[in-house]
């Protein structure tokens, strides 16, 4: 073909084909997406602190390991109550003159997804200690430590946020670990990461590729399937109360030998799991969030977790049944009314 030998025609043809396809698959979809998607009415704009925290999140490349997208597949259920939607990202605008929009959806999940971390793990004390060195709380973690977001002070001033760090992580340095403004801002950002409630008229997209219901068929012939309490404890409780059930002195209370855990009356126990607890703040323990409610735990799952806690680390209390838990839950409900 003659025009192949004409460099102007040849390269123009290649360029036009490429630009044409680019417009079709990138620019038009991007523009259309901007036009049709609006923020959900329940979505809260970030506070000033959270915005500053987001900049720190960007600067330190957190997106390299943490995604912020709950995919519409069943395995992502643990990261949010519903799959993320285009509207969830609609509020995000260009960062500033120098920097591009930071949607921060991510492509690699070396660490957990953070879409809903504000609900799941919004505890300020936990986050600060974890940022100072993740291995204080999660032994196996490979996340970097961020000690430069903290200062060491001999005598913390009034209003300083002192972070609970075991001595072995201080490498012999004398003094208290105090969170800098940046650390507090970063935690404020993490706390702000919550999935917005959908308005009633919008139905959330479904989670696809549900796990095959082998358990259901197994259960049909009478044998009740055992829910793995240890596994659920690993997902929901372990980050604070630790794998050995001993918690972290001064930050998270131990469950080993805990009165609440071992008591025959489980009313308070269930209430704490479902709705959180603040009664021991005077002892230096941080507030516990409504873990059970946030994670949508079923009575069977709560019972499994409780039984794990009641029979591990030397604990030896009577097992509870899902029905016991259900009764307490109903009692709590009626009390609230």
């Amino acid at each position: 073909m003659e025009w192949f030998d004409d460099h102007k025609k040849l390269f123009l043809a290649a360029l036009l084909l490429f630009v044409g396809l680019t417009v079709l698959v990138a620019i038009i979809p991007a523009l259309k997406n901007e036009r049709i998607n609006q923020a959900l009415p329940g979505a809260e704009p970030l506070s000033q602190d959270a915005i500053a925290g987001k900049y720190i999140y960007i600067a330190n490349g957190c997106v390299g390991c943490h995604t912020q997208q709950v995919r519409n597949v069943d395995m992502d259920k643990m990261w949010g109550q519903r799959p993320s939607m285009a509207a969830d990202y609609a509020l995000i605008r260009r960062t500033d003159f120098w920097r591009n929009t930071a949607t921060l959806m991510g492509t690699e999940r070396t660490g957990p997804d953070l879409t809903n971390v504000g609900t799941r793990q919004g505890n300020k004390e936990w986050n600060l200690t974890h940022l100072f060195n993740p291995r204080i709380l999660v032994k196996e973690s490979v996340m970097p430590a961020y000690p430069w977001l903290f200062e060491i002070k001999k005598e913390p001033a009034q209003g300083d946020v002192v972070v609970n760090v075991p001595a072995e992580y201080l490498k012999g340095i004398d003094g208290k670990v105090v969170a800098t403004k940046e650390a507090l801002q970063l935690v404020a950002y993490l706390q702000s990461l919550k999935q917005a409630k959908l308005p009633d008229q919008i139905i959330a997209p479904e989670f696809l590729y549900k796990k095959a219901k082998t358990e259901a068929t197994a259960g049909s012939d009478g044998a009740a399937t055992e829910i793995d309490g240890a596994e659920l404890y690993g997902i929901h409780c372990q980050a604070c109360h630790q794998a050995n059930g001993e918690g972290l002195p001064g930050a998270f209370p131990p469950l080993k030998g805990s009165k609440v855990v071992l008591d025959d009356n489980i009313d308070l126990y269930v209430d704490i799991i479902m709705n959180g607890y603040t009664a021991r703040e005077s002892e230096g323990y941080g507030p516990m969030l409504a873990v059970g409610t946030n994670a949508n735990l079923s009575p069977e799952e709560v019972a499994a977790i409780m039984n794990h806690e009641r029979t591990s680390w030397g604990n030896n209390a009577k097992k509870v049944t899902p029905d016991d838990v259900k009764k307490v839950l109903e009692a709590i409900k009626s009390e609230k009314k």
């Binding site: 030998d5 390269f11 290649a14 990138a26 523009l31 990202y89 609609a90």
Partner: protein, 675 residues
């Protein structure tokens, strides 16, 4: 897992079909033999039998015949008659169907196939024994008939036939028929007898062929591109190595500038824009003028471009370590003022190349220049789309990101490198590219399909479902350009495979080509929704990007560097260190990727089962260690590469004995003449 089982099924079916064909052939053979053994010996059969017998057999037969009248006939004949002529009628097994998409079913079939194969194998062994018995029986009848025939023939005739046959068996050449008895005189320069150098520690490979000297200005420019590229390779992979170690030892340091999140993009960007881009451009500066038979339009522009790109990577790396980045899009971490320098550098190169091509001496534009110039144009388009803010609010940023990150890889690195291979591979094999038109087909289909596939990095995200499907479709379409390219390169190797053994550049080309095929096909496989479930977000992506950016792009660049630098400098790298570079890089890459892919598959399955997240971190620990080991080997190989490049640099001190002798004689002559 599904793919594994698919493979197992295909393999099992192949085994079954093979066994069926074999048995079929065996049975046919027996039937034919039975027919044969019933026939009487005629003239033709007798002739055949004689010509099939060995020398020893013939002489003993002759003896026997001679003694026939005196004693009782005893004939022992070993038969060599049988060769079953096969008739392929394959018993096709049916087994594929729509149901195969279910993992459970695939596993069941795979498990069922194992006993079937076992039974078939046992059956085959029985059949073999049976057919052998039959064959022996047939041979015996045949031997009796042959003896009978011999008895009834006139003795002289048989004797004549046998001695005739013996003579032809005895004949052999003296090996002097063509050469004669005189010693060889090498007037055509064909012989290459090396002086005795003792036992070679490494195989001796061919030296680069000396060619017309390259314009010193051009070779200086190209060399500096390659030197800078090598610097960024060392820098970038040192960072990469350290980042890999951090997976094993997360508390290796606590400095903000060296923290994982900041260093990771320093690694990716410096090997992308520093190493691979500068390497490709340097090699491109050699190719573009060469294939048009005209010098480069402007050396100055070439130098400016080099300065600007180096400045980009230097400033970009510093900015990233200081925590200044663009918001976290993969390979888009440099902020726009820094990336702008890279853009200007590319524009200068584009102008330079286009002007050079416009002044070309050839009528056609060689295919390499299609790829190279298009890659530069497309890279500029991609970067513009990625950095212009007009369409990047909310999810728009992610749609653009998907487009950008994959076009950067496919339209910049891959397209440019393919252009280089279309020049350097035929050069090194000393033969034209197998098919020009396959190259053209690959060119247009690459543009058509590759442009579509960006969003396959965001399958199952909130990006429109149709756009994800288009991306998956495009990923499948990539099969066409990849197979076209691979075929073209491998067919260019055709009849030149023997050169592989005594060349130190061709192995690099071959590895690049193999990874081009497997790496790209793996990309297609990863794009499906079902495989995305397992592999997305895991370390599989990291392994894949190293298989491609390292296995394809880097290996090809090294191949081209080892091809071209000796031609410009007349210096070659020591073979030992080239070999060390090659093997460490290849083995390191495999240590790096294979454990990561295996671990990532386990990790994905764990996530699907809903296990606690931290369990998947614990699971990965040994595979991350393997990655660090592989990475270390790769890193050491780069030290060897840098050393090799240093050894290939032009030298002034070295004296070429022949060259110098001519010079001395010439000067003496000049002195004599001037007197």
């Amino acid at each position: 897992m599904e793919i594994f089982f698919d493979g197992l099924i295909v393999f099992s079916l192949a085994v079954i079909i093979f066994l069926a064909i074999w048995i079929n052939k065996r049975v046919k053979g027996i039937l034919k033999d039975m027919q044969n053994s019933k026939k009487d010996f005629d003239k033709e059969a007798y002739k055949n039998q004689i010509s099939n017998m060995s020398r020893q057999q013939l002489s003993s037969l002759l003896d026997v015949l001679k003694n026939r009248k005196l004693s009782v006939l005893k004939i022992v004949i070993l038969s060599t008659l049988f060769s079953g002529i096969s008739n392929y009628a394959s018993a096709q097994n049916s087994g594929s169907g729509a149901l195969l998409s279910e993992t459970g079913i695939i596993i069941t079939i795979a498990l069922l196939l194992i006993p079937i194969i076992l039974v078939m194998a046992l059956f085959a062994i029985r059949m073999r024994k049976l057919t052998r018995n039959y064959a022996a029986k047939n041979d015996l009848t045949r031997a009796k008939k042959f003896a009978e025939y011999l008895k009834n023939q006139p003795e002289e005739e048989i004797e004549r036939d046998i001695t005739g046959r013996q003579q032809s068996l005895d004949y052999s050449l003296t090996h002097k028929e063509l050469s004669g008895n005189l010693p060889a005189q090498d007037t055509k320069g064909i012989l290459n007898v090396k002086p005795d150098m003792g036992l070679p520690f490494v195989a001796i490979k061919k030296k680069a062929i000396t060619r017309k000297p390259v314009d010193p200005q051009l070779s200086k420019l190209v060399l500096w591109y390659l030197i800078c590229a090598t610097f960024w390779l060392l820098f970038g992979t040192t960072i990469g190595e350290y980042v890999g170690i951090k997976f094993v030892a997360p508390d290796a340091d606590h400095l903000s500038w060296l923290s994982f999140g900041r260093l990771r993009p320093v690694h990716t960007n410096s090997v992308f824009w520093g190493w691979a881009s500068l390497g490709m451009l340097g090699l491109g500066y050699y190719v573009v003028p060469r294939v048009g038979n005209r010098p480069l339009y402007s050396y100055k522009l070439g130098w400016y471009s080099l300065y600007l790109i180096n400045a980009t990577v230097l400033l970009g790396s510093l900015a990233l370590m200081d925590g200044i980045n663009n918001g976290g899009g993969e390979y888009r971490e440099y902020i726009w003022p820094i990336m702008l320098l890279f853009g200007i550098g590319l524009v200068l190169t584009l102008i330079n190349f286009l002007k050079t091509i416009a002044r070309r001496a050839t009528k056609e534009i060689y295919i390499s220049n299609w790829y190279i110039v298009s890659a530069i144009m497309f890279c500029l388009v991609i970067a513009t789309v990625a950095y212009v803010p007009s369409w990047q609010n909310g999810l728009g940023e992610t749609i653009v990101q998907g487009y950008y990150m994959h076009q950067g890889v496919g339209m910049w690195f891959m397209l440019f490198t393919l252009g280089l291979v279309y020049y350097y591979l035929p050069q090194q094999l000393n033969k034209p590219i197998y098919s020009y038109s396959l190259g053209i087909l690959a060119f247009w289909t690459q543009i058509l399909f590759y442009t579509l596939i960006g969003t396959h990095h965001f399958v199952f995200s909130s990006i429109p479902w149709w756009l994800q499907t288009v991306a998956i479709f495009g990923s499948v379409g990539m099969v066409i350009p990849v197979i076209a390219g691979t075929t073209n390169f491998l067919m260019t190797f055709k009849n030149g495979w023997y050169q592989l053994a005594d060349s130190y550049t061709l192995p690099f080309f071959l590895v690049g080509t193999i990874f081009y095929f497997t790496g790209s096909m793996q990309g297609t496989a990863e794009a499906f929704r079902s495989t995305n479930l397992i592999w997305h977000f895991t370390d599989f992506t990291t392994a894949h990007s190293h298989l491609t950016m390292y296995g394809i792009i880097s290996f090809y660049i090294w191949a081209c560097v080892y091809t071209i630098v000796p031609r410009m400098t007349n210096n070659e790298a020591p073979q030992v260190t080239v070999g060390a570079h090659f093997w460490l890089a290849l083995i390191g890459l495999l240590f790096y990727t294979v454990p990561l892919m295996y671990g990532a598959t386990m990790k994905g399955k764990m996530w699907m089962e809903g296990k606690p997240f931290i369990d998947s971190v614990v699971l990965m620990a040994p595979y991350w260690l393997w990655r660090a080991i592989g990475g270390t080997l790769m890193w050491i190989s780069h030290l060897f590469f840098a050393y090799n490049l240093y050894k290939m640099m032009p030298s002034t001190a070295k004296v070429d004995v022949g060259e110098k002798a001519i010079e001395i004689l010439q000067s003496e002559l000049n002195v004599a003449q001037s007197k």
